[in-house]
């Protein structure tokens, strides 16, 4: 199948790649751009390991075609830390030991960040339901919820 030329922005940088039109955005990120932080846990939109944002909307990159990224802005886990260091969510995940095997972690962080953009002051319940689309088989979620709550509090303080 002939490939399609895609021009897009990933983590703020303009990028181009050639995609088989059947390839998912997840495969394009991993195989063409070498951004392997987004993971495939199911390939069917059920686990959240592949979470990225597309023009600030949280999506499962396994359910988006690579060619759909044309002209849009993709943000992945690789863009989460900036020159000043780790994002508060990343720091809190480390502090609270909110990860074990770490395979779900990139997706969870991206989803948690998107959640806090929409709702900077969530209740614990809102965090639990907000992240229900991101499966983790290792941690039992408790420390993840705590880390997100703690990061949210810190981010609110910084914003104030």
């Amino acid at each position: 199948m002939s490939k399609i030329h895609v021009t897009t922005t990933v983590n703020g940088d303009p990028v181009e790649f050639l995609a088989d039109p059947r390839e998912t955005l997840l495969d394009c990120l991993r195989d063409h751009l070498g951004l392997t932080g987004s993971k495939e846990g199911c390939g069917t939109g059920d686990c959240g390991a592949c979470s990225v944002t597309l023009d600030d909307r949280l999506v499962c990159s396994c359910l988006v075609l690579g060619v759909e990224a044309e002209g849009r802005r993709v943000d992945t886990i690789e863009g989460m830390a900036d020159a000043d260091g780790l994002h508060p969510l990343q720091r809190k995940f480390i502090e609270h030991a909110a990860l074990q095997c770490g395979f779900c972690t990139p997706g969870l962080l991206v989803a948690a960040k998107a959640l806090l953009v929409q709702n900077p002051d969530p209740t614990e319940e809102e965090v639990r339901y907000g992240l229900a689309g991101n499966l983790c088989r290792c941690t039992g979620y408790d420390k993840i919820v705590r880390a997100v709550m703690d990061a949210a509090a810190e981010m609110r303080q910084e914003a104030a």
Binding site: S38, E78, F103, G140, Y141
Partner: protein, 812 residues
């Protein structure tokens, strides 16, 4: 000192930035091939014709292999040499790999693998335990039977008796990272394999066998797994072998990963069990005798089923002293995926059997199940003569002749006198009067559940909440609540005694930095961090000075799987031994330089104190290097005291026991069967924890996974043997929203009485079984619907709960 600190996972920073590499993230070298299996569409029968033309012609396809194209049978079995990589003509389960495709991309390989045209002649598949029993389709020549006393007589002579059956479903591992391997061909026909595996040595062995190489021709490296849980103990063999075969044949690197559906369809899961039971007891619920029949569905190949079924038998007592017991275990061969290791390794199924008996007894007597549990507990630590009941607390001084007194004398092997070597005519070992033994003759000498239960009852406010639940249930006709507190006693060690060994390799470089390697693999459980903390403590340096490196069969050979919760026990000790060797060499040299005694040289806080001087560790290392001291050492450890005869079921298979208890409260909707966990309190024993943050994580994750097994995780095969629940869309593991509103976890503050690494205890598997508290809380909630025996089956899905509600209502 770095041990006992809650330091973060060694790769935490890599994980949160997405930089941690798993096998599929390793950049594939140019020209790498991607593999996929073509799978059988029937469960049993023969392939009569196979046409792979369309596969060969599909875009991107570079090669296609059938069984007859392989260099050998390419056996994948970890035990019985009964798992050819590709089926050949004989099909044994639906999903069995029949042919192998190599293509230029993962997508191309997968698409092509769907194009095979296979003609079959089906025969009747053996799918259920009933069909297998009917056909006498089994592993081993007959059932394993272990006995202690005469259980039949004890039951018949008891004032009351019950009998029943519980079906216990299997469980998909659902490691978030699917199986994956990458093979890189080397000069001279050698092979390097990167695999997501808990058992690199096994992969090395199987790849070497497949290629006809000695083991030194294959090197296997595993940096990390995205979860394992037992599912990567043997189930990764096929991918690694396939990659190696293709890499050998084409001279190109080969990579394979299963898609989630393929992973579900091809690989083994937790064994499902049917447990039939009969028990006799007195008015207090004290058990006089218990009989169990375990019917265990092992699938098409033997894999690890025998030790799994053994471990189920070994946990048929859980925390209870059973004066007479008979366990009969059938290991049934069926046309389904080959069931395999999964956290707990049969222990959870065996334990659920006896917990079910206790619950049934309590229901028959109209008592609080916790009372019945406590009446049957083993006697407390070092106490002789207490027959169940409230055992006295630990005496200040061990009574003369007590077990603990004996254990302290080095060189004595309790098991040799009390276990396997004892007279066998009565089937019970000769042990001192009043000492309590397990059904397999191991003396229970470290039982701390009396104290733990007291603490948890208090912590969870069990008594008041049980009354509150009763009040709620009296007032509410539709939503019913339930509460249960269940204990765990889990045996630690591989039951195949020779596996209880480990090696480590440590280098100190001239700048004082330290390279650490051991045979254990990292699957998220924090093993690398824990062992690094041990090394840091031994050298008195900060953990940052230690570089933990990927598990590598070229560095530490002949390792056991990272399994049976043994990772830090074994590898921590081996690493400690290596560190001590180097430290002693350093001390000796530095003492000589500074006119001091080697034993007075101290390594602490990044410094070495010698002859009144203080050197930095780096200076000390440089001095030793210049003094031509070897700064590299291996370490080795083997677990002491083990002795086990699995045929007779007698001996000391376990070095020690790990304990825990959980109290869960649930609510059910009696109209729909829907349910949720409201609160869980846990108290878990990690001995003197090496790293409380990591251990707590294991406890939380284990509990949730165990609760998932017994509630939402249901595997469904249709009549043709096709697994219908093969993705997260149809198979539901707990999600963030399932976490209980109240979830409190405490670690029991104690030391292992056995000499383990810094007196810690293993923590990988034991917490899994804390999930049982949820199941029995559900049963309690259902009991509130009527007087009938609810007979709840596992997993307690809404359907199962609803059926149990009906039984409770309709019953007498």
């Amino acid at each position: 000192m770095s041990v006992a600190k809650p330091l973060p996972h060694d790769a935490a920073r890599l994980h949160v930035t997405g930089a941690a590499r798993y096998v599929d993230d390793i950049p594939a070298p140019a020209g790498a091939l991607h593999l996929a299996f073509g799978l059988s569409e029937i469960a049993a029968g023969r392939i009569t014709a196979i046409d792979l033309d369309a596969v060969r012609k599909a875009p991107g396809v570079v090669g296609v292999w059938e069984a007859s194209d392989l260099p050998s049978d390419c056996d994948c079995s970890p035990s019985n040499h009964d798992e050819p990589l590709l089926s050949g003509h004989r099909i044994r389960y639906l999903g069995q790999p029949v042919f192998l495709v190599a293509a230029t991309s993962h997508l191309a390989a997968r698409r092509a693998a769907r194009l095979g045209k296979l003609d079959y002649q089906s025969r009747d598949a053996i799918l259920s335990v009933d069909e297998a029993m009917e056909a006498d389709s089994r592993f081993e020549d007959g059932p394993r039977i272990w006995e202690k006393g005469d259980a039949g007589e004890a039951i018949d002579g008891a004032p009351h008796a019950i009998e029943g059956v519980i079906e216990i479903g299997g469980q998909e591992h659902f490691y978030l990272e699917g199986q994956a391997a990458l093979a890189l061909p080397q000069e001279g026909g050698d092979m390097v394999v990167h695999a997501s595996t808990q058992h690199p040595t096994e992969i090395q062995h199987k790849v070497a066998h497949a290629l006809g190489l000695p083991m030194h021709g294959v090197r296997v490296e595993t940096r990390r797994m995205g979860g394992g849980f037992g599912g990567k103990e043997s189930q990764g063999n096929a991918l690694a072998i396939a990659c190696a075969v293709v890499a050998r044949a084409t001279g190109r690197p080969a990579k394979m990963r299963y898609d989630r559906d393929d992973d579900f369809t091809i690989t083994g899961k937790r064994h499902d069990f049917r447990i039939e039971y009969r028990a006799g007891f007195d008015d207090d619920g004290r058990l006089a005798g218990v009989e169990f029949v375990h019917l265990c569905r092992c699938g098409w190949a033997q894999d690890l089923s025998l030790p799994v079924a053994d471990r189920a038998m070994l946990h048929a007592d859980n925390a209870y002293h059973l004066p007479a017991i008979r366990i009969e275990s059938h290991r049934l061969k069926t046309n389904t995926q080959s069931a395999t290791a999964f956290r707990g390794f049969g222990g959870p199924q065996g334990m659920l059997g006896i917990e079910r008996v206790i619950d049934h007894v309590a229901h028959a007597l109209g008592r609080d199940p916790l009372e019945v549990r406590r009446v049957n507990y083993y006697a407390g630590e070092t106490v002789a003569g207490a027959e169940g009941g409230a055992a006295p607390r630990r005496p200040a001084v061990a009574p003369p002749g007590s077990i603990s007194g004996k254990m302290k004398e080095p060189g004595q092997d309790l098991a040799s006198r009390g276990g396997a070597e004892g007279p066998s005519d009565a089937g019970a070992p000769a042990v001192p009067a009043g000492v309590q033994t397990t059904p397999y003759g191991q003396v229970v000498e470290d039982f701390i559940l009396h104290e733990m239960t007291d603490r948890l009852v208090e912590r969870s406010d069990y008594a008041a909440r049980r009354r509150a639940v009763a009040a709620w249930n009296a007032a509410n006709p539709v939503l019913k609540r339930g509460i249960a507190l269940t204990p765990v006693k889990f045996g630690i060690s591989f039951t195949l005694t020779h596996l209880n060994q480990a090696g480590a390799l440590v280098h100190v470089y001239q700048d004082g930095s330290i390279h650490l390697n051991h045979g254990g693999t990292e699957m998220g459980q924090g093993l690398f961090q824990k062992v690094a903390q041990v090394a840091a403590a031994e050298f008195g340096v900060a953990p940052e000075m230690i570089r933990i490196t990927a598990t590598d069969t070229g560095k530490v050979p002949n390792t056991s799987a990272t399994a049976a919760s043994s990772g830090s026990d074994l590898n921590g000790m081996a690493a400690q031994a290596a560190c001590v060797t180097i430290r002693e060499r350093m001390a000796e040299h530095l003492a000589r330089l500074h006119q001091d005694e080697a034993r007075d040289v101290r390594f602490a806080e990044g410094q070495v104190h010698v002859g009144g001087n203080r050197l930095s560790f780096a200076e000390a290392a440089a001095l030793c290097y210049e003094g031509r001291v070897s700064l590299s050492a291996t370490g080795f450890y083997k677990t002491p005291k083990l002795k086990w005869d699995r045929i007779r079921g007698q001996g000391r298979p376990f070095f020690y026991f790990a304990y825990g208890a959980a109290c869960s409260e649930v609510v059910i909707d009696t109209l729909t069967g829907e349910n949720r966990i409201l609160a869980t309190h846990i108290l878990h024993d990690c001995g003197a924890s090496l790293n409380p943050a990591i251990d707590r994580g294991q406890v939380e994750g284990g509990f949730v996974q165990g609760a998932g097994w017994l509630t939402t995780e249901e595997l469904v095969w249709d009549g043709d043997g096709r697994l219908r629940t093969h993705a997260p869309s149809t198979y539901k593991i707990p999600a963030c929203s399932d976490r209980p509103d109240i979830f409190e976890v405490d670690l029991w503050d104690g030391r292992n009485r056995e000499e383990t690494i810094y007196r810690s205890k293993a923590v990988g598997e034991p917490p899994f079984m804390l999930g049982m508290s949820v199941f029995f809380a559900l049963q309690h909630a259902v009991s509130a619907c009527g007087p009938g025996w609810p007979d709840l089956q596992a997993p307690a899905t809404p359907e199962a709960v609803l059926a149990a509600v009906r039984r409770a209502r309709d019953g007498v």
